[in-house]
C-alpha cells in the first residue's frame, strides 16, 4: 500500500472533524459587456499541441453596461460601471484535445472618464471533434443563417488607478458568456460578470 493509499484509507471515511456544512457563498451581479470581434485576426496556425489565433475587439462595436439599468449595484452599493472597450484582445489556443485556453486583456473606458484594465483566462470545452471543426476546411462551425453559440466561462480581475473604481481591484469575479461563431470564426461575445463574495 502506497503512502497516499495508506493516508486515504485512514481519513477518507466519514471524519467527525470534517466540515459538514457549506461555506457561505454570494454571487453579485457587476456588469455586462458585448464585443464584436475584428475580422482582421492574427492566425498563427499550428503550434505544439494545437492552433493559435489572436482576435481583437472591433473599435466602436463594444459596450459595457448594466442589464437592469440600476443606479446602484445591489449588495455592493457602488455605482454601476458603464462605458466601452478602448482596446481588447483574446489570445486563443485551441488544443488538439478539444479544449480552448485563452488569455484576454482589455481596457474599459468608463463614461465618466476612468480606465479599468481587465484580464482573465478562459477555459472552454469545444465539444467532441470541436478542434477539427474549428481548424478544418470542411464542416466549419456555424454559418450566417445558423451561427453556433458556445457557452464560455471567465474569471476576470480588474485593475485601475481611479479612486472611484478602486473597489473593483479587491474582488475575484466570474463571467458567464456566450460566443457566437460563424464559419469557425469568433464574431461576437456577450458576458454577464458577477463578483464573488
Amino acid at each position: 500500500m502506497s503512502a497516499v493509499q495508506a493516508h486515504s484509507a485512514g481519513s477518507l471515511a466519514l471524519d467527525p472533524e470534517r466540515r459538514r456544512t457549506f461555506v457561505d457563498k454570494t454571487v453579485l451581479y457587476l456588469l455586462s459587456y458585448d464585443v464584436e470581434a475584428n475580422m482582421d485576426r492574427e492566425e498563427l496556425g499550428f503550434v505544439s499541441g494545437g492552433v493559435r489565433v489572436n482576435v481583437f475587439a472591433r473599435e466602436g462595436m463594444t459596450r459595457v453596461y448594466h442589464v437592469a439599468r440600476a443606479r446602484t449595484l445591489p449588495g455592493l452599493g457602488f455605482e454601476p460601471v458603464a462605458g466601452s472597450l478602448s482596446w481588447g484582445g483574446d489570445w486563443l489556443f485551441w488544443r488538439d484535445d478539444d479544449i480552448e485556453l485563452s488569455r484576454v486583456k482589455m481596457a474599459i473606458n468608463t463614461d465618466d472618464g476612468a480606465v479599468i484594465h481587465c484580464t482573465y483566462d478562459v477555459k472552454a470545452d469545444l465539444g467532441p471533434g470541436g478542434f477539427r471543426r474549428l481548424v478544418g476546411k470542411k464542416g466549419r462551425a456555424g454559418n450566417e443563417d445558423e451561427p453556433v453559440v458556445f457557452p464560455i466561462m471567465t474569471t476576470p480581475r480588474f485593475e485601475t488607478s481611479s479612486p472611484r473604481y478602486r473597489w473593483l481591484t479587491e474582488y475575484q469575479c466570474v463571467g458567464f458568456g456566450r460566443a457566437l461563431v460563424v464559419r469557425s470564426e469568433l464574431r461576437r461575445l456577450t458576458y454577464d460578470i458577477y463578483v464573488l463574495t
Binding site: 481519513s11 461555506v23 457563498k25 470545452d125 457557452p151 466561462m153 480581475r157 474582488y171 460563424v182 464573488l196
Partner: protein, 203 residues
C-alpha cells in the same frame, strides 16, 4: 444576417449555474522571516505530514501527502453532477505539493496565486492552478509579520485543473470557482495558513 437584436445592451441576464463539486482543505506554512524581506509579496510553503517519509530508498512517482490537505464531499456523497449534466465520482484526493504567493493589496485584502498537485485514491495526478482573493480583516497584514497575530476571513478563487486520465477529464474541461474560509494558527512554532474551500463548477 447575424442576429443583432439580442447582442446589444441585453435587458435579460444570461443563464448561469454553479454546481457543487467537492471541498478542498489546504494548509501552508508562512515563513515570517522571508515575509519580512519580501514586503508585499508573501510566499508560503507546504506543510509536511508528520509521517512523511514512507518507503525509504525506493523511487516514488507519487510523493507522500501533505498534512491536512485533501479533498472530500461535505455531505459525504460519492457522486456529483457537473454543469454539462454528466455524473461523476467525487475526486477523493490528497494534496502532495502546493505553493501559494500572496500579494498585499492593502486593507487586509490579499491577491492569491497558487498551484497544487493532487493525487487521487486511484493514483491519478491532477494539477491545479488558482488565483483569487483572501480577506483577513483590516489588520490582516500583521499576520505575516507578527508571530502572535492570528486572523480569519474569507477566500474566493478561480481554479483550473488538468488531469491526464479520462475519468477526470471533466476537471480539465470545467472552470471551477471556490468559496472558502481562511484562518491562521500557530502549530509547534510554525504559523499555518489554512484554507477550507467549497469548489463549484460554473457554466
Amino acid at each position: 444576417m447575424l442576429p443583432t437584436t439580442d447582442w446589444r445592451e441585453r435587458t435579460k441576464f444570461l443563464d448561469k449555474r454553479l454546481l457543487y463539486a467537492f471541498s478542498l482543505e489546504l494548509r501552508t506554512s508562512i515563513d515570517l522571516g522571508l515575509t519580512a524581506q519580501s514586503g508585499a509579496r508573501i510566499r508560503t510553503r507546504p506543510v509536511p505530514a508528520a509521517s512523511r517519509g514512507g518507503a525509504k530508498g525506493k523511487s516514488r512517482a507519487v510523493p507522500p501527502p501533505l498534512d491536512h490537505s485533501d479533498t472530500y464531499h461535505v455531505l459525504n456523497d460519492q457522486l456529483i453532477v457537473s454543469v454539462d449534466g454528466a455524473t461523476h465520482e467525487v475526486p477523493l484526493t490528497k494534496v502532495v505539493d502546493h505553493q501559494d504567493v500572496l500579494t498585499d493589496l492593502g486593507g487586509g485584502v490579499f491577491d492569491l496565486n497558487g498551484r497544487a498537485r493532487l493525487v487521487t485514491d486511484d493514483q491519478a495526478s491532477i494539477s491545479m492552478l488558482y488565483t483569487g482573493v483572501v480577506r483577513l480583516g483590516f489588520d490582516g497584514e500583521l499576520v505575516f509579520t507578527e508571530p502572535d497575530q492570528q486572523a480569519s476571513g474569507s477566500v474566493q478563487l478561480a481554479i483550473q485543473c488538468e488531469a491526464d486520465r479520462p475519468k477526470y477529464r471533466w476537471l480539465s474541461q470545467a472552470q471551477l470557482i471556490a468559496f472558502g474560509e481562511a484562518r491562521t494558527r500557530t502549530v509547534a512554532g510554525a504559523k499555518i495558513l489554512a484554507l477550507s474551500l467549497d469548489l463549484y463548477s460554473a457554466g
